[in-house]
């Protein structure tokens, strides 16, 4: 079965935060609680330019948050999406301690955890996650890995803190297919 995650091209991200706000807009997260964040990294050797990294939940294949949850509030779907059930959440925050990517966010008002669900309701309707759909540069994309494929490349970018978690985040490079995407113009409405 196809496993889902994100791929990201640091050579195309320019730190606009559109993905962060798109996520908040589509998912209605409370003020100041963001499932996705953009980090500024120091320049690569020999360059002066900032590198940006947009990151949310990486929907790890061996998700440490799922293992850490004592209430089974976190679970992995067959397609790889790590889902959180706020009704079952105890608010123990063990998942926050287990996650190397700071993906689970604390919703102080409700006393529960809140996290990226890869916009699975949008995926089920044939749309891409809100953060991916709004990305002006094509840096952030939906990753679809077929059985057996490992993708790879993440280690080289030095972004893995916990390799055994096997995060579903791959480093892409080069333009996405058909960029900027050319949508067919609709017929005029009668």
């Amino acid at each position: 079965m196809t496993r889902l995650g994100f791929s990201f091209d640091p050579g195309r991200c320019f730190g606009c935060l559109g993905c962060v706000a798109a996520c908040a807009n589509a998912n209605g997260t409370p003020e100041g609680l963001f499932w996705r964040r953009v980090h500024k990294l120091p320049p690569e050797p020999g360059r002066s330019d900032t590198v940006y990294l947009s990151m949310s939940c990486n929907h790890c294949e061996a998700a440490p948050c799922v293992k850490a949850c004592p209430a089974e509030a976190l679970a992995k779907r067959a397609d790889g999406v790590v889902l959180h059930d706020a009704e079952a959440c105890l608010g123990c925050r063990y998942c926050q301690m287990a996650c190397p990517y700071e993906a689970p966010q604390w919703d102080a008002a409700r006393g529960v955890i809140s996290k990226c669900d890869l916009c699975h309701d949008r995926l089920d309707r044939g749309r891409e996650p809100a953060c991916v759909e709004t990305c002006f540069s094509g840096a952030l994309r939906l990753l679809r890995l077929e059985d057996g494929a490992s993708g790879g490349g993440l280690e080289a970018a030095g972004l893995i803190h916990l390799p055994e978690a096997r995060p579903m985040l791959r480093i892409a490079s080069g333009p996405p297919e058909a960029f900027p995407p050319a949508l067919p113009m609709p017929e005029a409405k009668p």
Binding site: A21, G32, P186
Partner: protein, 688 residues
Amino acid sequence: MPQPNTHYTVCPHNCWPVNCGLKVEVEDGCLCGLEGNPHHDFSRGRLCVKGQASGEIQRSPHRLTKPMKRAGARGEGLWEPIGWDEALDTIAARMGANRAAGRPEANAVYHSHGNIVQRVNWKILTPRFANLVGATLWDGNFPCWYDVGLAQALTGYWGLHDPVETGAFAAALVNWAQDPAASQANLVPYLLQVRDRGGEVVTIDPRVTQTAALSTWHLRPRLGSDTWLANGVASVMLRQGLVDEAAMARMGDGFDAYRAHVLALEPRLAARECELELKDLERLAALYGQGRPLCTNLTRGALGKQWNGVQMVRAVLCLAALGGHIGVRGGGVVWGEAVDWNPGLAAQDRAVPAVHPNNFNAIDAALEAGAIDTLLVVGGNPLTQWPNLNRLRPQLARVPLVVVNDLFLNHTAREADLVLPATSWLEELGLRASNSRIYLMDQAMAPLGECREASWWMDALARRLGVPDYFPWPDKEACLDECLASEACAGASVAELRRRPEGMAAHVAEVPYADHRFQTATGRFGFFSEQARSLGLPPLPTPEEAPEGPRNSPGLLARFPLQLVSERRNTHFHSFHDSHRMVPTLRSLEPEPLLHVHPRDGAARGVADGDLAELFNDRGTARVRVEWTTEVAPGQVGLNDGWPELNLLTSSLCPVAPEVTAVTGLGGQPAYQNALVQLAKVAPKVAR
């Protein structure tokens, strides 16, 4: 179950030259969904951080919903709700008295981005009001690009070409002092398209900008050395025979004089002035002289905020011409809107004589002299966006009646006499254009409370002033249909646009200036500008150091050794929505003014990353949060535009005299980028 109604409009932020398309869902009079319009031919369903958060403007509990008058001293924060009649009677009494006294110019209307985002307000309905009732009109574009515009007018070249064409056809793109990635993220796909095709994407900026992160080459000249740079590169091109000189002589006025002027500049000297290597200038010359279309993104803004800005822009325009990039597909210098509305409706023939021209020197002088009696601020916020706020505040206090029309209270409204509640962009019918297309901004909801759109209260005010025909149309749709009666908009109507969420193509030149006809007196490209000479300006692009800067003011430099650079960030559209504090997503992403400081400068002052610090000069003191970063050069600090803290420190000096603006209608940008400051740690409070 009732289905939500879908409406198409555009984003309420006033990006240039294109606003992204929006699709909104309304159910039971409430906004229940807002996302990018996937049919919009330019933005294709995408929105930036501001656009994604724009639903929060509509849903805010802090909107102004009733006219109010102050119930205490100005700035005390005490307000009393009043009816529209009382508000408009108050304004009409003063404006009428000024007219009766033969000084209509003492009535001033300042309209800015919040109003002009509606294009017919900018071009037609607000000028029409000022002209028919008799009032000085100040356009909020003057702080943005009026010196750039003056340079364009003197050269006879406005550019206004299409970023889509750049993406498709440019062999190279030079972002000259522009950071579209931070200010207009929707341009990035077209920038990356050039890079993806193997083209060079260059950023010329002393700072490490977000656009620099996407560029193949980042050139960091000395701040304010751009005229040296452009002339130096031109000198290299001429010396290396990279110029079709016969073609230049055919196209332009005074090419020989320009040629001699730049050849007199030794490229090595130019490089030294820019604090660059000669090989940098040679590489840029090779790029401009390679004979394939190169686009220079000089799209409004940054250079005009420099003391030497008019000359910098003139120098860059001439350089682009020299490489043969004017009037060719994929070339050009300024991206922009090229769609004109019905020009006859603005009643320009009845404009008040330009006693106080749209030039900051003139505005400053008029306010200082107490020559303005009634000031209507429509969708603007001078008390964050005009320079030198500690000078401006007492000047505004001397204006007997200050009225602010906006969505929220803001820094200016809090010190006004009357506030008028504005409709949001979803509550009014409007029009927008890109370079070559027209879009409807459809009305999706009824106005909140007693909010009314500007043309409604302008009409009610005009009637009180004895002008019955300001708004002669039965409704807004009929008004917009007449605004669309222009050559560019032929075939477009509100009804037709409503059927087309993808917008309609306007009738504009496919490649601007392909015929090499320019808007000068001779119709030729102004290498040498006779008009500039007659106005007392250098006729050839000539460098000049700013009066307040490291080279010209050693005394100031000893006390204020840092140069303050204003930056743009994605989370702000200038000071919209009370410096974005009314938009929860934006205020949580940028909760306070953040000053970029080079670690060397921070360490030397004991100011650490994350510290609260004071930034100051003789004009004021601003409290800012410090971020250590090598994105700014040592000796420079960067602060985001949109927070009042920036303009506490900027200078109200502007290089272009009001007399020039009175003749050309352009110039008068303050030299925002030429300010010296010092930074100090905030002393911890001592416990008693």
